[in-house]
């Protein structure tokens, strides 16, 4: 359904997206994971026709988004990060308007609008103006306007930013319902838990580059069973590195420094809790002082940390 090949977008010397390639199929939620500024929205904008790619290609349902943009966009539904609603039109009129904008008419439109209103849980507030809605209700209507024309590919650009937990859960249900109905969904987020819950496949990007790709299980397996141990305090760089190397030589073969600064050290190793006393001894002997410790079991968040050396939400 969606094919992205060697897609790049430059702003002068700044490379916002650097030769990204991935495919997403019908009935699949494909996640684009990365911190703010990683290039996720730029990719969405290139696919939706809002931006012209500098190089590379993207196609929707076989239609190139540049060469055959009109046909590509007919198959596309976009739920932008920012709300895009007529606040002075009732919810039902918003849905009707965007349905008509994609060519829907008559009974088909009315039936679809009615279904979408039920799906987004606004059936009883359909004739109210969005300006009287809560933030979560507006988000749901924003979602409804993006899917009212039954698109084959839905682009969801960080749809849960600023959404309360109840509305977030409802949004997940709506995304899953669209996926089950056969739509292909490209979902961008910087929340790993969302990606783990929703996405069948993922691409992790940072600084415009794709750094890992696969199913959630495939990506987890890249971590192995290693935990991530984050230590804060004071750590002489050279002495600490020597101390860690010493631990590796004494049998902790999978111990690895992910990142190291004067004030923090991040390590990965399997069954880290069993090795904590030895690690603290080694660091103390090397002149380090630990003031705070954080131990995390393997997940996508720790994978990102492992791959980039930094937190996803930095």
């Amino acid at each position: 359904m969606l094919k992205v090949k060697e897609l790049s977008k430059n702003y002068g010397d700044l490379v916002a997206v650097d030769r990204i390639s991935f495919n997403a199929d019908k009935g699949q939620v494909f996640g684009l994971l990365g911190p703010n500024g990683a290039g996720k929205s730029t990719i969405i904008n290139c696919i939706s026709g809002l931006l012209q790619p500098t190089s590379g290609h993207a196609s929707v349902a076989g239609h190139d988004v540049v060469a055959d943009g009109k046909a590509a966009r007919q198959n596309l539904g976009v739920v932008p990060q920012e709300l895009a609603l007529y606040e002075d039109l009732p919810a039902i009129e918003n849905l009707r308007y965007w349905g008509k904008a994609y060519g829907m008419r008559g009974a088909e439109l009315e039936s679809r609008v009615s279904n979408v209103l039920e799906t987004i849980g606004l059936g009883d507030r359909a004739k109210d103006l969005p300006k009287s809605y809560s933030g979560g209700m507006k988000r749901r209507l924003n979602f409804g306007c993006g899917i009212v024309h039954k698109p084959n590919l839905i682009l969801l650009d960080e749809p849960t930013v600023g959404v309360d937990p109840q509305s977030r859960s409802r949004l997940f249900d709506m995304v899953e319902a669209e996926r089950d109905a056969g739509a292909c969904i490209l979902y961008t987020t910087h929340y790993m838990e969302e990606a783990e819950r929703l996405c069948d496949s993922l691409a992790i990007i940072d600084h415009g580059k794709l750094i890992a790709q696969g199913t959630v299980d495939e990506l987890r397996s890249k971590l192995g069973a290693r935990d991530v141990l984050q230590l804060s305090g004071s750590f002489p760089i050279k002495a600490i590195r020597d101390a860690i190397d010493g631990l590796v030589e004494r049998g902790n073969h999978d111990l690895e420094i992910i990142s190291q600064e004067e004030s923090s050290v991040t390590l990965s190793l399997s069954q880290a809790s069993q090795h904590l006393p030895a690690i603290f001894d080694a660091l103390s002997s090397a002149g380090g002082t630990v003031t705070e410790t954080s131990l995390r079991s393997p997940n996508l968040e720790t994978l990102f940390l492992l791959l980039t050396g930094k937190e996803l939400r930095e």
Binding site: Q74, E87, Y97, C145
Partner: protein, 403 residues
């Protein structure tokens, strides 16, 4: 296109207050002007006079200002210097004339004498008339001296009860002189061809001339207000969502233009109907006038929109647009009819977009029949609509909608 039209009309229904303001302000201004001017009112001024001489001559001068048709424009009130200066400064009178003591004697003796005329700077027309009349009186005095110098000298030397024979002789002399100069002053007409003048339309009442400007004020308010909707759509994110939809831009713009025509037609139409009712204008001219202001209003809307879309934020766009709106209203005859403005200002006013529309509307409602608009008028307005909407389309396509 119809979807976009219906959407904009539905949205506009949620903001009836704006439409009310677009109509109410021009009607309020128009009502005040009409109340002040009335339908047949002519300007009238007061000339304050301080007569320190109190001679027959000074009385004659006072009478000269109210003689004949001048009396319909000017009335003379006697006063003191202090009161006169204060009332002119307060704008209660058009001018103050001070006739000094000894004026009559000085005139008879051909001695220099000074009349003081202080005019009201806040008025232009009536003080100008009073100044002109004063200059004419002074010229008349000079020529009277040239013609009747001997008689004036005789009158000066007469005692209180001159003999009848002296008076009769002087009267005969004056009559003879008048008869001798009459052929030079009023030469006989050699050949007279009497041609019946074509019947002329009576000049329209001044208050009627205000009507097109008032209507255009409502149209301008509406056009500028609706033009701001592009920015509102951009801020709401709906323009961006529009770009995602396939091939919707042209229909969207056309729908907005149609919605503008409907709203401006309603706003302008209501002011038109009220104006027609008040002034008793023939209803046959209503359709042509309504179509004219609706189509012209779309042109104004398109250009306001194109202008607003050039700026980087909504606030700047609003400020610049409003800064342009009021000078245009001023120049285009919304506060003073173009017909009563000085010539060069009226030329500029008629060249302004709203002035052009108001001028042709004035022509239509004061013409003998309906549909007095020339083809070139319609073509000019059509060109404004097309170029304005094309600019909007260009701006939407060149990044305004995507931002």
């Amino acid at each position: 296109m119809l979807t976009s039209l219906r959407k904009d009309l539905a949205r506009r229904r949620q903001d009836l207050l704006s439409a009310f303001i677009w109509i109410a302000i021009p009607l309020l201004i128009g009502g005040l002007i009409t109340a002040m001017m009335g339908n047949d009112v002519k300007p009238h001024g007061v000339l304050l006079m301080v007569d320190q001489d109190e001679s027959i001559l000074s009385e004659l001068i006072a009478g000269a200002y109210t003689a004949g048709e001048l009396g319909e424009l000017i009335s003379v009130e006697k006063t003191t210097i202090e009161d006169g200066i204060e009332r002119v400064n307060d704008g209660e009178a058009s001018a103050l004339l001070i006739i000094p003591e000894g004026f009559g004697a000085a005139f008879l003796n051909s001695e220099p004498v000074t009349l003081t005329l202080k005019t009201n700077p806040s008025q232009t027309i009536l003080p100008g008339i009073i100044t002109s009349v004063t200059e004419i009186l002074l010229d008349a005095g000079f020529y009277a001296h040239q013609l009747f110098g001997d008689e004036i000298e005789t009158i000066k030397n007469l005692d209180d009860s001159p003999a009848d024979a002296v008076v009769a002789a002087m009267a005969v002399d004056i009559q003879n002189k008048i008869e001798s100069v009459t052929p030079h002053l009023f030469p006989p007409i050699i050949d007279i061809e009497i041609v019946a003048p074509p019947p002329t339309e009576p000049a329209p009442p001044l208050a009627l001339l205000f009507l097109p400007g008032i209507i255009l004020m409502a149209v301008m308010f509406a056009a500028n207000g609706i033009a701001g909707d592009w920015w509102r759509e951009r801020e709401q994110g709906t323009l961006r969502r529009l770009v995602y939809a396939p091939g919707q831009l042209g229909a969207f713009i056309a729908g907005k233009a149609l919605a503008a025509a409907v709203i401006i037609g309603l706003v302008g139409g209501l002011t038109l109907v009220l104006g027609f009712l008040y002034h008793g204008i023939s209803w046959a001219k209503l359709p042509s006038s309504l179509i004219w202001i609706s189509v012209s209003g779309v042109g104004l809307f398109a250009w306001f929109a194109a202008l607003q879309m050039l700026f980087s934020n909504q606030r700047t766009a609003n400020v610049i647009s409003s800064m342009l709106l009021f000078p245009l209203l001023m120049a285009g005859g919304s506060f003073f009819p173009l017909a009563v403005l000085p010539g060069w200002i009226a030329v500029i006013g008629r060249a302004s977009p709203n002035g052009f529309v108001a001028d042709r509307l004035t022509q239509e409602i004061t013409a003998a029949g309906a549909w007095s608009f020339a083809l070139s008028d319609w073509l000019t307005v059509a060109a404004a609509v097309v170029t304005g909407l094309s600019l909007c389309a260009w701006r939407l396509g060149s990044g305004f909608a995507r931002a």
